[in-house]
Symmetry: C2
């Protein structure tokens, strides 16, 4: 693989996730913070209208609008469908014709710490993930194979990934998390610079990867209304082992509901605000050690 | 003062504050939980359309629509203006003609614990507040004189107050906070029952009251964009003393901004998501001990 030519930091793909948005504004005000000798870096605020409205999206979730068939479908004309086509027009060709890294910044109400979400296992991304895991104790690496085509913004580039930080409420800046995210971005850019300079030693290392296996919805009644909450013992325990029989929900009439699986899993995105409407109370992962 | 005839628990005055909304749904499903021999209790979901949209409001903040002049103004026809007039029609006459307690349930992204917000200092409310402070260690009492008429929903009744619980993200249920809020409501209803039964001994007691004195906005540029965040040392430290010279903000270019006041204050609503648009980074209070 040749050198990385450019990095695009996309922010506000969800308009109420302030950490990335204001970090992007900082980088635009002080561009030297993200400049490196061997590649260009720029910032793109993905969904300005949703940011102005302090909402995740206007019509539909922008970060589910990037399936190739959807991008090519002229019948899809919602605000976010149009936006996705514009962003693809801006970045798609570039990402095909050069080595372009896309870093898409997100935040979560779940205790995601500094999660790097990979949508593919490109060797460069695995090496980057291994390096960041090694130097930054808050980093967690998830691998989530897109379920329908590659419908996430960061999937525009083979070298794209998302960063998901939390816990932080929507529409709020948490200074500590802002600073940690900032440091992580500098570490990622430094890694890319070293790679371009040929300074990264290809060494055998191991990488802890949390691989998506499925989701669990809230208990609901026939009308679809939720009938319980994340159990207090599980709240904020993202990335901790969850064993069969341990409680995951507490119903409004105070019954504990236990995890019914047959093996230990590692739940993430526990109690993510934006996932209530998606029917997701948590995502389940398997913990794997990868030799790379 | 005569007996309390009825209690109205209003929920979802802000549609994305789930704690009160789902607690109200629980009470509607299990009405015996809130029934008492000497008074009626009912639940009113104030803003169903905002709840369905998981937003604070559709057109404007419902909880600022109850000024008498606004309720009487036929020119005000936004969704929430109409809603406020309807709610006033439902509760206003009742509250004048009988002893009606209105408990308006809210949640906050700030560390408000279990805050009771009083809009007046009616002796009954002060006695109730003193009792709840004494039996529940998470309870804090705020007094905030409405700035323009009585423009809050709970102000429909002289015996109205708001409960503000946090920290919890918008659009999220936190089971621990849900349970604590539930207990607090039972304690309030029990107090009312005892009052009606003549069992509450009028004893001299002291009440710690946090009285609003003003607000502080975020540092902003000329375009009105925020230029900093709540300082990490202040985040989640609601109700803790803040002394002159102590940091309150951290700007994006990493300068700490100190509190410039001349005396110790007790900030609350620190980093409340819904207040960014109102120009409020925190509310300041004075701590007072009231002999009642």
């Amino acid at each position: 693989m040749g050198n990385i030519n450019s990095v695009v930091i996309t922010t506000g793909t969800h308009g109420n996730e302030f950490t990335g948005i204001y970090l992007g504004k900082k980088f635009e005000q002080f561009p030297n913070l993200i400049q490196h000798p061997s590649f260009d870096t720029r910032v793109l605020l993905s969904n300005p209208k949703a940011f102005a409205a302090v909402r995740r999206y206007i019509d539909k979730d922008l970060n589910r609008c990037f399936a190739t068939t959807d991008l090519q479908n002229p019948q899809l004309t919602s605000y976010e469908d149009i936006l996705a086509k514009n962003i693809y027009y801006l970045l798609g060709e570039e990402s095909k014709n050069q080595q372009q890294v896309i870093i898409d910044l997100h935040s979560s109400t779940a205790n995601m710490q500094l999660t790097i979400i990979l949508k593919n296992q490109h060797p460069f991304l695995l090496q980057l993930a291994a390096e960041l895991s090694e130097i930054n104790p808050d980093v967690r690496i998830c691998y989530s194979q897109p379920t329908r085509d590659s419908n996430y913004l960061c999937s525009i580039s083979e070298l794209g990934f998302a960063i998901e930080v939390g816990p932080v409420a929507q529409g709020v800046l948490n200074a500590e998390l802002f600073q940690k995210t900032e440091v992580l971005i500098y570490q990622a850019l430094d890694y890319i610079e070293s790679y371009n300079q040929g300074l990264n030693q290809q060494r055998n290392s191991s990488l802890t990867l949390y691989q998506y296996t499925g989701v669990i919805d809230y208990p609901r009644n026939e009308a679809g209304e939720i009938q319980g909450m994340i159990h207090p013992q599980l709240q904020f325990r993202d990335y901790q082992p969850l064993n069969p029989g341990e409680p995951i929900f507490l119903t409004f009439d105070e019954r504990a509901i236990a995890y019914q699986g047959t093996s230990t899993v590692y739940p993430i995105f526990i109690n993510e605000a934006a996932y209530y409407e998606k029917g997701i109370a948590m995502c389940l992962t398997e913990k794997k050690i990868l030799q790379i």
